[in-house]
């Protein structure tokens, strides 16, 4: 019958598509972002962060970066505590993304110092030679418009004060973007909780173990090289961390703890490398003499050539 009645077919088709729509899309509004989801410590974006978020959207960073950590072992180890619904209640739109061309950014806040981001955004390839992230050199030249940003805060109903708006004058899009990145995932105290505690006394298992030292060198290349040089007359003077020239005098247990816990002042925690891995790096650094760093200078890592 419907095969002869186009209007009837339209009505029936609409009914057919509405069933699944109502149940899986409309109904969930009843629960999602409700009381059960709320997390008291999650705060709306401030004016600078919101401006940065809009730069992120404009540049389409979400085409390469996801912002949602799944409750899977590998995700949690790599990126941090898994994402909770309540962390996103101020995200209009959400920016979970569908691809991980680059790392997930849901918990990147606090991972690096601002100086690292400044250089990475301008020249990703200098920091990470294998990177294919585009260089964003123009953002430093673009100013944030305080009045427009205030309007955005009003539209979203986020709290702000005039001092915050005035402080936007003179800020660049890069400042805003970094402020946004530093906020990501840091509203809940997951870093403190995730801080793994090493049980028992520290014992260096690899004293003078040549194989372990070689592996330590590799681990250094892939984890530390973007911030630290191994020699004094560094080729790029704007490294984020100090050159690690002479580690011989560093107490090995102190060195271990520093790498494991980070310093909270720019040096991130590397507990995720694992106890064995960190000991390998410690032994590599302790055995490293200036002059024999030819193999791990910045830029000559294996893999993709520039």
């Amino acid at each position: 019958m419907w095969e002869k009645k186009p209007i009837l077919l339209l009505v029936l088709a609409t009914l057919a598509i509405m069933v699944g729509t109502v149940i899986t899309m409309v109904l969930p509004f009843k629960w999602i972002n409700g009381e059960g989801d709320r997390i008291a410590s999650v705060k709306p974006y401030n004016a600078l962060q919101l401006a940065g978020r809009d730069v992120y959207i404009r540049e389409g960073c979400n085409n390469c970066h996801s912002q949602v950590v799944r409750p899977l072992v590998a995700d949690v180890l790599r990126y941090g505590d898994y994402s909770k619904s309540g962390e996103f209640v101020y995200d209009q739109p959400h920016l979970w993304g569908s691809r991980r061309m680059g790392p997930d950014l849901a918990r990147v806040g606090g991972k690096y110092p601002d100086a690292w981001h400044v250089q990475h955004m301008k020249q990703p390839k200098v920091m990470i030679p294998q990177s294919n992230m585009p260089a964003y050199t123009a953002l430093v030249g673009n100013a944030i418009d305080p009045a427009y940003t205030e309007k955005k805060m009003k539209v979203l109903g986020f709290p702000y004060n005039q001092a915050e708006i005035q402080a936007l004058a003179g800020k660049t899009e890069l400042d805003a973007l970094i402020a946004y990145l530093q906020k990501l995932g840091s509203d809940i105290p997951w870093r403190q909780q995730a801080k793994a505690v090493v049980v028992g006394d520290l014992v260096n298992p690899f004293v003078n173990d040549a194989a372990a030292i070689a592996e330590g060198a590799k681990l250094f290349d892939s984890n530390c090289d973007s911030c630290h040089d191994l020699k004094m007359e560094s080729d790029d003077t704007d490294d984020v961390g100090p050159p690690l020239t002479n580690m011989k005098d560093f107490d090995e247990n102190d060195l271990f703890t520093l790498i494991h816990d980070g310093t909270g002042a720019g040096m991130p925690s590397f507990a995720s490398i694992g106890v064995t891995g960190i000991w390998k790096i410690v032994n590599f650094l302790k055995n490293h003499k200036e002059g024999d760093d030819e193999g791990h200078k910045k830029g000559d890592d294996e893999g993709h050539e520039k």
Binding site: V19, P93, S98, Q130, T276
Partner: protein, 468 residues
């Protein structure tokens, strides 16, 4: 040429424009594929990967996909209703408006005006243009069908009507946003809600744009090309209704393991698996309609396009549901595997059917036989090989990437840093970029063949072509 009373001029214009936008989509696809290998190809600020990728997907889905659907629907609807288009004037207005929208979309996307939502990146003023476009199109199709001279509505018309309501509902609901300025708005939904609405839209864009319209075209032209009617009418009915009923439940399979409530994910998984049935209903219907005619695979290039197209649809609708399974999703989600899946659907299924559809109507709208069948065969092989290399290389890349992401040392720590996993992908990305060039070559052969057809002297058509 107009002796039948059908209006083919309008169809002709749509074909030209959709092919132009299709070429843009493929060119930009090749460009972004190379950008991933050579990041220095990113030209700030307008031509960076983050802005070009949405341009690629929009040009592909809306310019090439929807544009060709307009062309072929306007053709098919006249034939199936045995009457001219309800309003040619409206269709012409729609053509200008369509091109204006696509151009505006390309410009605004490059300027960085976007909502961030996949396949719905266009900002609110463009949303309004899209809605107007769709209303105008719907009225014309519906009125032509209402005033038809043929009592029975053929299968293709069901899919057309479903597309019309489906796209309207999806697009408008997902477009709810609060404007801040002319080219900036914020989504009306927040966080997890926003994600759930977006992927309800996203997956059903696959249903209502990349599945139903190509099926309408397939059901119309396959029998025309082979001369054998569709195998089972009953199977068509069941497949149609269950397809449009089930699709809408499955959006959350893009959100497995996210904070979206578990029960929504589970429903999405279950319905994704059930979708195999109606999808394969159409695949079997296509295969069985070939009964006794398989030799045409050798002789008739149109049949090759259609049968390969429906085969990729069949593979796509087996692979898709498997990606919705929690354990497999944990593995492949976010990886290179997904572009492999996507392009088997877009470059294989959708584009194959569209190429064939255009070849079918070209002799009709130009009154000339297709210029060269060997060239059409060359086109077939180039796009097939390009697409296969693309998808296979991405599947392998995705599996390797996923294994490395999940690999753990005996001490319970990750084996590889993110950057180490990244470094492994470059060879695959290079292969993918080359596969894109092969595909592009196929598209250029296609265009050349069509231009030569249009330019060749008018000749009387063979009976077979008349029949289309």
């Amino acid at each position: 040429m107009e002796k039948t009373g059908y209006n083919y001029d309008i169809v002709k214009s749509y074909v030209h424009w959709s092919i132009l936008w299709g070429t843009v989509a493929v060119l930009v696809g090749v460009l972004i594929a190379f950008q991933l290998v050579y990041p220095s190809l990113n030209l700030e600020p307008y031509l960076t990967y983050g802005r070009l990728r949405p341009l690629h997907t929009n040009a592909g889905i809306f310019g090439w996909g929807i544009g060709s659907f307009f062309a072929l629907f306007f053709y098919i609807v006249q034939r199936l209703c045995r009457r001219p288009l309800w309003s040619v004037g409206l269709a012409r207005f729609q053509l200008y408006f369509f091109n204006a929208t696509i151009i505006a979309a390309a410009v605004t996307l490059l300027l960085g005006f976007n909502t961030s939502k996949e396949y719905h990146e266009l900002e609110w003023p463009l949303d309004i243009m899209v809605v107007i476009l769709w209303v105008v199109f719907s009225i014309n199709i519906i009125m032509t069908i209402v005033k038809r001279k043929e009592e029975h509505m053929y299968i293709s018309l069901w899919y057309m009507l479903a597309t019309i309501v489906g796209v309207a509902v999806l697009y408008i609901v997902n477009a709810a946003e609060i404007p801040v300025s002319l080219f900036k708005s914020y989504s009306a939904y927040a966080g997890t809600n926003d994600a759930n609405v977006q992927w309800w839209f996203g997956h059903n864009a696959v249903a209502m744009v990349l599945t139903a319209p190509p099926l309408a075209i397939f059901y119309y032209f396959l029998p025309k090309s082979t001369g054998v009617p569709i195998y089972s009418h009953r199977m068509s009915i069941i497949a149609f209704w269950s397809l449009i009923f089930m699709y809408l439940w499955t959006g959350a399979h893009h959100l497995i393991w996210t904070p979206v409530p578990d029960w929504i994910q589970t429903l999405a998984l279950v319905f994704s698996l059930m979708l195999i049935a109606p999808s394969w209903g159409s695949v079997f219907n296509g295969y069985l309609s070939m009964g006794g005619q398989w030799h045409q695979m050798r002789e008739n290039y149109l049949v090759k396009f259609f049968i390969l197209g429906i085969t990729f649809y069949g593979l796509q609708t087996l692979q898709g549901p498997s990606q919705a399974v929690r354990t497999f999703s944990a593995f492949i989600h976010f990886t290179e595997w997904v572009p492999g899946h996507v392009h088997m659907g877009t470059m294989g299924w959708v584009s194959m059917v569209l190429f064939a559809g255009v070849y079918c109507i070209f002799p009709k709208i130009y009154g000339r036989e297709v210029y060269s069948i060997p060239l059409a065969n060359l086109h077939f092989w180039l796009v097939l090989i390009g697409q296969l290399i693309y998808s296979v290389s991405m599947w392998i890349a995705g599996i390797q990437q996923a294994s490395m992401w999940h690999s753990m040392n005996p001490d319970g720590n990750l084996t590889y840093t993110f950057v180490e996993t990244l470094a492994q992908l470059y060879p695959y990305w290079t292969i993918r970029a080359v596969s894109g060039v092969i595909y592009l070559a196929g598209v250029l052969v296609f265009i050349y063949n069509l231009i030569m057809t249009a330019r060749s002297p008018e000749a009387s058509l063979s009976a077979a072509a008349q029949n289309v």
